[in-house]
Amino acid sequence: MLNNFGAIGILLIFAIALPVILVTVPKLLAPRKYSKEKGTVYECGMETRGETWVQFKTNYFLYALVFVAFDVETVFLYPWAVQFRKLGTFAFIEMFIFIAILLVGFWYAWKEGALEWK
């Protein structure tokens, strides 16, 4: 048990030490010269104007939301599929009901315009 924790301990020490070293060594070694050019956002291309943070269209989010919701629901299909033979017809019907409910949800999202790009 102790050995195991010892291993984790060493791992932990390394994990902490490595980034620290990697950050501090260049700081100590590298020469530092500041200039206006270096302070700009990009070293090439156009200079940005206004807010640096770009806003995405909310439709991206909507798509993402709909996708996440439906994607995750399908996780239930896996155990069902694996045991499909043993579960019999009743489980088959049940899964249809489940999918039907999902479809109502999908229909709802569609009708409410979640899939339209405006």
């Binding site: 009743f90 409910i101 109502v104 709802y108 409410e112």
Partner: protein
């Protein structure tokens, strides 16, 4: 196998009704979505009939090896949730007219929240319980944030979501430990495996679960969300939250604690800790209600303290105590819905729900003022209203177990509560509302007002029918 599905009849009915409401909402063109109310009411009534049939024909069965139970206890709570949903729908007909759009979803979500509560009351398995809980709360997140124009509503929704999610994570973390300790998530099996053992891990699991539920029923100090969310939410939803969501929390908590963890929960330190939480809830909840200016916020604190009274029955842990919980939760539905329906009426007319908006209500709408008075006095426990009988059952059960000082606190704080309830009454009756016009109430609202008042009065004078139902339901929990 198929026959067992009959046990799920109320849930299935409600799910179908909910989906139909959603679909109908889509089929009717936007902007002219009328006729949802009758449909919803009809659906709830049908479900109530099914649940009532189960209760009165003494259906006591379990499903999938005890993962889902249809006993009298669950049926009682199902009736309670449906009654609450029905009153909310009826009382909000005028309020909903003011909502920008999405009226169909409003009713659909109310139904799905009720479905979640029913699953909570019926589940014999912690994961099923969790799914029911989340079905309820996710519906509530949306409902709370329903007034998209009003920044407060959205803020309340997000706050509720984040805090609610933290609490469910805590609850689940506890559940994962219970699973680790016993290898099962079925409540009865957990009880069998745990026996009367008490290890630090059990205590941790127990307290995590307790904290998760305490959030839902808003025991102090897990109550912080309640006032903000109650204030921000649309009035009918606040009522629904205060009444049904809380009752659902109790339904699940009582089952988990008294069936699954009875040996641990009501023993030694844990019981004392629970008693301290309850005492704190009653004291601070009532005291904080006093300085409030906003009606919904005051009712939030009031409902926190009411949760303290109800939790007394849990602490007693006897069939009598559970009977008190059931009885009080039910009459609380009617008392609170009465008060909130009046608040909805005032809020629709005034566009705000400060206590001072109630000035002169006695003149502007005498019925509303009377209903508000009756409801508030019932909550304060003034005989001969139903609240008094309920408190009597609860405190008697607790006294039975010898918690004399806690009973004492409960009494003192009941007296204190009269003070702030009376402030509202005084505003309604004894302050002139300048020259504000009379408030008209629609048929559905009037019906709600009358029903809540009559039930509160009737159960105060003749509580036997409900008491008998509560006794049967409580007995089924301990079978």
């Amino acid at each position: 196998m198929n026959a067992q599905y009959a046990l799920l009849a109320p849930e299935i009915t409600l799910a179908v009704v909910g989906l139909v409401i959603f679909s109908v909402g889509l089929l009717i063109p936007k902007g002219s979505r009328q006729g949802m109310v009758p449909l919803t009411v009809l659906g709830i009534l049908v479900t109530m009939a099914v649940a009532g049939a189960q209760f009165f024909s003494n259906v006591n069965g379990s499903f999938l090896d005890g993962m889902y139970l249809a006993d009298n206890y669950a049926s009682f709570f199902k009736l309670l949730f449906l009654a609450a949903a029905l009153l909310v729908v009826l009382s909000s007909t005028e309020y909903v007219q003011k909502l920008p759009a999405h009226r169909g979803e409003f009713y659909g979500l109310i139904l799905f929240a009720a479905l979640g509560m029913m699953v909570m009351a019926g589940s014999g398995d912690l994961i099923t319980l969790y799914v029911g809980l989340e079905l309820m709360t996710i519906s509530f997140y949306v409902l709370v944030a329903y007034l998209s124009e009003d920044g407060k509503s959205g803020e309340a929704g997000l706050k509720y979501l984040i805090l609610g999610a933290v609490s469910s994570a805590v609850l689940l973390y506890g559940v994962s430990f219970l699973y680790g300790l016993t290898g099962s998530t079925v409540i009865t099996e957990i009880a069998a495996k745990l026996g009367s053992g008490m290890s630090p891990a059990t205590i941790l699991a127990l307290l995590l679960v307790l904290a998760g539920f305490s959030f839902k029923i808003s025991l102090i100090p897990f109550h912080m969300w309640a006032p903000d969310i109650y204030e921000g939410a649309p009035v009918p939803i606040t009522a629904y939250l205060a009444v049904a969501s809380k009752a659902a929390g109790f339904a699940a908590l009582v089952r988990v604690m008294l069936v699954g963890l009875k040996a641990q929960a009501l023993d030694g330190n844990v019981a004392v800790a629970l008693a301290v939480l309850i005492g704190l809830t009653m004291i601070a909840g009532n005291l904080m209600a006093i300085p409030q200016k906003n009606f919904k916020r005051m009712m939030a604190y009031s409902s926190i303290s009411q949760a303290g009274y109800i939790a007394v029955g849990l602490l007693a842990g006897t069939p009598d105590g559970v009977k008190g919980v059931l009885f009080y939760s039910m009459i609380y539905v009617f008392a609170n819905m009465g008060a909130f329906t009046v608040a909805t009426v005032v809020s629709t007319a005034q566009g705000s729900d400060e206590i001072k908006d109630f000035a002169g209500l006695a003149r502007r709408s005498p019925l509303a003022a009377v209903v508000m008075t009756v409801s508030l006095l019932s909550m304060a426990g003034i005989p001969p209203l139903a609240g008094f009988v309920g408190k009597f059952y609860l405190f008697k059960a607790l006294l039975d177990q010898g918690w004399v000082p806690l009973v004492f606190i409960a009494f003192v704080m009941s007296m204190v509560s009269v003070y702030y309830y009376l402030l509202v009454t005084r505003t309604m009756y004894m302050e002139e509302g300048a020259d504000l016009p009379k408030i008209g109430v629609s048929g559905a609202t009037k019906f709600t007002l009358l029903v809540t008042m009559l039930v509160t009065l009737f159960l105060g004078i003749y509580p036997s029918p409900l008491a008998k139902m509560a006794t049967i339901a409580a007995a089924s929990l301990f079978r």
